[in-house]
Amino acid sequence: MNCFQWLQWLVEYVEGARDEGPPGLNLSLSSPLWGVVWVFLMAFIVLFSGQSSKFIYIDF
């Protein structure tokens, strides 16, 4: 596995698309760090949620 593939795996794991982290990463799903990730995400979502938006692909 090259560096680029490892980074892709890491992004997918952090994003929630994979259940297992990449080789060498010691971050289990029960780690409190996920709470920190969620707090940051929620902060960004709240900060940017003032913009009006529609999902492009939804029929309307």
């Binding site: 698309a17 799903l29 913009q51 309307f60």
Partner: protein, 404 residues
């Protein structure tokens, strides 16, 4: 809006996922069906402007649930179901477009449907109806109970904009959802939050650039800025649609139900064939199984295969929208795919694996891969001009971009 509203999470997702987890196996499908029906009516009335007429289209689901009980392997009635689904989609989505092609604009088109509306998610759920009818006809999936089929068609996280599910993949998860709550809710909530962040932070922020894709602004902008705006749209639509898919897949995870992936690093692909294996994956698998293969697929001469590719992308373009610009967008990608096939054949490789982007025996050099990636990226993004703008505006855009 829907997936970025509090109502989606507080009225539908969390209550239904919790009830689903706690319910007996007999009740589980009916919980999804009930919440899905309520979701369809609620958002038809409150969010999409189609009001009670849109909500009444829940009758389409009633029709589908009844006729689907008559599907058996080899039964001709499956074709009635397929025809009905195509008619529903054709009438609601394309009536004014197709009648307009023959009878002109609204003023001269006496068949124009004033007050036309789109039932919520019709482009997606009709494709799931067709999949079920075809696979039942071929004996590739079991019937399941009425409740199980209602749960499939009313599964609200994917009802509105996919990913397009397969019944034979959905049924095992419905009958035996994953029992690891902690893992499912960690992954599901994480996925949903990343989807919302992608939508609000990335996709919506790019609107500041993409809103300039109109004739007035295109007329005065420098060429480099024209490209910035269009490429920004390429990222906007990726973040927007992949964000929705993240929310849908994450929502499914809360139920313990696995939903197929829809995007896998599409803009990193080094040829157009690989791009279409990584962009809107569930739709393209559907098109391969229910359009490309019935047309004859790759079994035939090169000209025959290219014809099939063009037809599939024409269907894809039309499916995306009722407008000439969407037809052109589909054909744009069809031509790119044909060129890729011809290029591989002309190079003498001519092998299926080479065309479909599988790693060759001798890996390409880095400059070669970078050049392939750049070409793919540029042409995919130029094609978005036909997706985001109507034909006159898109043609004006290219005139300004290449003609000055």
């Amino acid at each position: 809006m829907i997936f970025n509203t509090a109502a989606y999470y507080l009225l539908f997702l969390f209550p239904s996922a919790l009830a689903f987890r706690r319910a007996s196996s007999q009740l589980r499908p009916w919980i999804i069906a009930l919440f899905g029906c309520a979701f369809f009516v609620y958002f038809s009335v409150t969010s999409l402007g189609s009001g009670w007429f849109g909500a009444a289209c829940v009758g389409i689901f009633v029709w589908e649930s009844l006729i689907s009980r008559l599907y058996t392997p080899g039964a001709k009635i499956c074709f009635l179901g397929i025809t009905a689904s195509v008619l529903f989609l054709g009438v609601f989505k394309y009536w004014n477009f197709f009648t307009g092609l023959f009878l002109g604009s609204r003023e001269t088109n006496h068949l124009y449907w004033v007050g036309a509306f789109l039932p919520l998610g019709i482009s997606f759920f009709t494709f799931e109806f067709i999949h079920y009818a075809v696979d039942r006809y071929k004996g590739k999936t079991e019937a399941g109970t009425l409740g199980e089929y209602l749960a499939f068609i009313f599964f609200f996280p994917t009802m509105v904009a996919g990913p397009i599910k397969r019944y034979q993949d959905f049924l095992p998860c419905l009958r035996e959802p994953n029992r690891d709550w902690v893992k499912d809710w960690n992954r599901g909530v994480t996925r949903i939050m990343w989807g919302l962040a992608k939508k609000f932070v990335l996709a919506d922020s790019l609107t500041a650039l993409t809103d300039h894709l109109n004739q007035k602004d295109i007329a005065v902008a420098p060429r480099a800025i024209l490209l910035v705006w269009l490429f920004a749209y390429g990222w906007k639509i990726y973040f927007d649609f992949s964000a929705y898919s993240d929310i849908a897949i994450g929502s499914g995870r809360l139920f313990g139900i696995k939903i197929p992936e829809n995007f896998s690093w599409p803009y990193f692909q080094t040829n157009i064939t690989a791009f279409w294996r990584h962009w809107h994956i569930s739709l393209n698998k559907w098109l391969v199984d229910y359009v490309f293969i019935p047309l004859g697929g790759s079994r035939g001469s090169l000209a025959f295969i290219c014809r099939n590719v063009l037809i599939v992308m024409l269907v894809s373009g039309i499916w995306h929208g009722a407008g000439v610009n969407f037809v052109v967008w589909g054909l744009w990608h069809g031509v790119l795919l044909v060129i890729h096939r011809l290029w591989a054949y002309w190079l003498g490789e001519g092998k299926k694996e080479r065309v479909e982007g599988v790693t060759p025996d001798k890996p390409a050099s880095l400059p070669s891969r970078l050049a392939s990636w750049a070409l793919t990226y540029i042409f995919v993004n130029l094609g978005w001009a036909f997706f985001v703008m109507d034909m006159p505006t898109a043609l004006f855009y290219f005139h300004r971009l290449f003609g000055g």
